[in-house]
């Protein structure tokens, strides 16, 4: 796994604790018999968390408490209560330096430095724990303060800072392109920043990733998010829809067995039909149904049976259904039967149901 270029703050060790907390009596978890042969790691764990319990009981939000929380999250990065307490310590320490972490106003270098250091800490722990909810949320809480604390919005200076965070997320995605937390974090920062430059740059980013792995469903979902500018419920213009539909079809042409581009294509067409029940949408659907038919040759040339490519056939069924005339529905019904009986038998019940519904609509359609 590649390493991110980091300069995280050093974390104290268990041996530093008695010296740091000479006045504190650690609180043990239970009164049970002491372990005879504790594993080294768990012995560290026990000591560190015994001190933490004592500090939590006192609610001491201090520099040394901050250091203790770093050791404790290193030992268990998923311990959400420790992360909470760490943020409370950060808040208290900043307040004591004469500022208030939640107020608007002039950037305070020492405040920002403190938050940036914490991002470094989170990143250093994130490497081994890429799917840890608490670490990702800690990043978000810190960035909320660094980037979105004041009412000024994202200015050019903070735009670069956003790009820095996007680079970090890209790094994480480089290790696992489907990391759900990373994508969610990326969407949050893009949408909250809401800068044209960023929306536009994301298109290129997405296209690069689709080229690397066209079967990465997360990237296709991201493209939908970007093309709609995070406005989930609004429809694209007809022109934009045509561009997106073509992009999806091109992706499907590379590998018709890939589920994601077909979903995307049908999603675009359905969205247009919902918002525009007009002749131009009908032309759009007709156009792409024809293009889908043409993809059969891609499979034939590769020596594969085009009738067995269930993702392509099911997309065609959807498009024929959108066309809505009797002949199209009859054909769709026939294709559904083929899937249920021959090519996608694990979902037989679904396809035979679909066949029946389409056939019955065909008799009532024009």
């Amino acid at each position: 796994m590649a390493d991110y270029d980091l300069d995280p703050p050093p974390i104290i060790s268990v041996n530093d604790l008695p010296g740091l907390f000479p006045d504190i009596t650690p609180i043990e978890q239970n009164d049970g018999p002491n372990p005879v042969c504790a594993i080294a790691y768990t012995a560290q764990f026990i000591v560190a968390y015994n001190y933490l319990r004592a500090i939590l009981a006192k609610d001491e939000r201090s520099e040394r408490a901050l250091q203790l929380t770093a050791l404790c999250v290193k030992l268990n990065p998923a311990n959400y209560t420790v992360w909470h307490f760490r943020r409370q310590c950060l808040e208290e320490l900043y307040k004591n330096k004469g500022g208030n972490i939640h107020h608007d106003g002039e950037d305070d270098d020492s405040h920002l430095k403190m938050l940036e250091l914490d991002l470094q800490l989170a990143a250093s722990l994130g490497g081994d724990n890429p799917k840890n909810y608490q670490i990702w949320y800690h990043r978000r809480a810190l960035l909320q303060m660094i980037l979105f604390g004041s009412n000024a919005g994202v200015n050019d200076k903070s735009l670069d800072r956003v790009r820095q965070e996007l680079a970090y997320i890209s790094f994480v995605l480089g290790n696992d392109g489907k990391n759900y937390h990373a994508w969610s974090h990326r969407q949050w920062i893009i949408k909250t920043s809401n800068r044209d430059e960023l929306w536009n740059e994301e298109f290129d980013f997405g296209e690069k990733l689709i080229q690397i792995d066209p079967r990465n469903n997360s990237v296709w979902n991201h493209r939908w998010f970007i093309s709609h500018r995070g406005q989930h419920q609004s429809s694209l213009s007809l022109n934009d829809a045509r561009t997106e539909a073509q992009y999806a079809l091109d992706g499907a042409a590379l590998d018709p067995y890939n589920e994601s581009p077909w979903r995307y294509l049908i999603g675009i067409l359905k969205e247009q039909r919902k918002s525009n029940d007009s002749a131009s949408v009908q032309l759009l659907v007709d156009d792409f149904e024809t293009k889908t038919m043409d993809l059969r040759s891609v499979l034939e040339n590769a020596g594969r049976d085009p009738d067995a490519c269930s993702n392509m056939i099911s997309a065609r069924i959807d498009m024929l259904e959108l066309k809505g005339d009797s002949d199209s529905l009859k054909l769709a019904s026939l294709l559904a039967n083929g899937l249920g009986i021959n090519h996608d038998t694990i979902r037989k019940k679904y396809w035979l149901l679909r066949e029946k519904e389409l056939a019955s609509r065909a008799t009532t359609a024009c």
């Binding site: 030992l75 909470h84 759900y180 969610s184 969407q187 949050w188 990465n216 694990i346």
Partner: protein
């Protein structure tokens, strides 16, 4: 003459029964572990191995030397819920209580009774339950705690501060209808499910804006008919369960097709598409099958009335192959190491599939897809909810107490 032939028939019948019983008994004693056969050609279901696994894991995790115990202590409340509910499907409540030390301490174990420990996890500052003693209150662990109490019919324990918990949950609803997990503000559709289920268990759903919660869920629907953690997030089977479960509790499943698009069909198909050749289910396109999705997807399909859209036998076969036939427990996929999370969801999945049939020797309880608790618990508490019934399917008897949307 008639009496003689009748008597003969009777003896033949009795002999047949004896033979059947004998064969069954010998099967049970010659197998390396008591088990039941579920499907031809598949491994048997090693029920006793799994209950033994859960019991020994519980004491292992609480040992001070346990590394696994240390790094999971913050979510112990959920771990206990998974353990107890899995056991409760397979064994009578009294047996589970005795084996796991629920209402009273297990002798000489040094561990408190689970219910006593549970109340120590209540965080008076927030009004919610934490994952373990000394942890901040959070919706995830508040739900798990309430589920455990429901399981053992202790929701009327006078230590349960229903008012404080209700206030905590209600305070987490945002202006857009979504829910944060705690005061720190992380938003996720998982938390909507936790909030609705928690308040339903307490009988206090009227303390939040249920309609607004349901409408936020609908806003999270994606181009493929699925749902993610927030608006715009990728569809994910675990999130789908939370969203559909929330809509079921909110009796708002009709919102799925409000725009005259057959979104329930689209979602049902998306869920069915998660079934891989192995019979297992994945959570998103092009990801690996994982036993936990047997629960998330199966329960969602149950609520949507579309379970027949997947191959139930193939799924059951996959789950059975994920069992550890030496030490018990179920793993995420065949040959991997078992853990209590996947053990619970594997057992729950098999139960929901209808593959765990009770017999004279073994009484299994069925599990409810909306609340992830035994059906009889849900019915005893008269928990409210809604399911979809497609007229071309048989209405599931186990869901007959819910409102039906057809």
């Amino acid at each position: 003459q008639n009496l003689k032939s009748a008597t003969n028939s009777f003896f033949i019948h009795v002999t047949y029964l004896q033979l059947k019983t004998m064969t069954k008994t010998s099967l049970e004693t010659t197998c390396s572990s008591p088990s039941i056969a579920v499907l031809d050609g598949e491994p048997p279901f090693y029920d006793k191995l799994h209950t033994d696994y859960i019991v020994s894991l519980a004491s292992k995790l609480d040992a001070p030397t346990s590394y696994e115990g240390a790094v999971t202590e913050h979510l112990r409340m959920s771990g206990v819920y998974w353990s107890l509910t899995a056991m409760s499907i397979l064994l009578p409540v009294e047996k589970v209580d005795m084996l796991m030390g629920v209402t009273s301490q297990i002798n000489d174990s040094g561990r408190p009774a689970i219910l006593d420990w549970l109340f120590k996890c209540f965080d008076t500052r927030t009004g919610g339950f934490g994952g373990n003693v000394g942890h901040d209150g959070h919706l995830l662990y508040t739900l798990s705690a309430l589920q455990i109490l429901a399981l053992f019919d202790r929701l009327d324990d006078n230590r349960l501060d229903k008012e404080a918990i209700t206030k905590f949950v209600a305070s987490l609803q945002q202006p857009d209808g979504s829910f944060a997990g705690d005061g720190w503000g992380e938003i996720d559709t998982r938390f909507t499910y936790c909030a609705l289920s928690s308040l339903s268990l307490l009988g206090k759903l009227d303390q939040i804006d249920v309609d607004s919660a349901a409408r936020y869920i609908i806003k999270c629907r994606n181009l493929d008919g699925g749902f993610g953690c927030v608006i715009g997030a990728e569809s994910h089977a675990g999130q789908v369960f939370c969203c559909i479960g929330a809509l079921a509790i909110a009796k708002s499943l009709h919102l799925l097709d409000e725009d005259n698009q057959s979104n329930a069909d689209l979602l049902g198909w998306w869920l069915a598409e998660r079934q891989c050749d192995s019979g297992g289910l994945n959570g998103r396109p092009e990801k690996q099958a994982d036993v936990c999705y047997s629960w998330w997807i199966l329960s969602a399909l149950n609520i949507l009335g579309r379970v027949s859209w997947i191959s139930k036998d193939k799924l059951a076969g996959f789950i059975l192959k994920c069992q550890d036939d030496d030490d018990g427990g179920i793993a995420d996929r065949p040959e991997d190491m078992a853990d209590v999370f996947h053990t619970f969801f594997g057992i729950a999945g098999l139960s929901l599939l209808g593959h765990l049939h009770s017999s004279e020797k073994k009484i299994y309880r069925s599990i409810d897809p909306v609340y992830a608790l035994p059906t009889d618990t849900v019915q005893r508490l008269n928990l409210q909810g809604q399911i979809i019934w497609r007229t071309d399917e048989q209405l599931d008897e186990r869901l007959s107490h819910y409102d039906v949307l057809s």
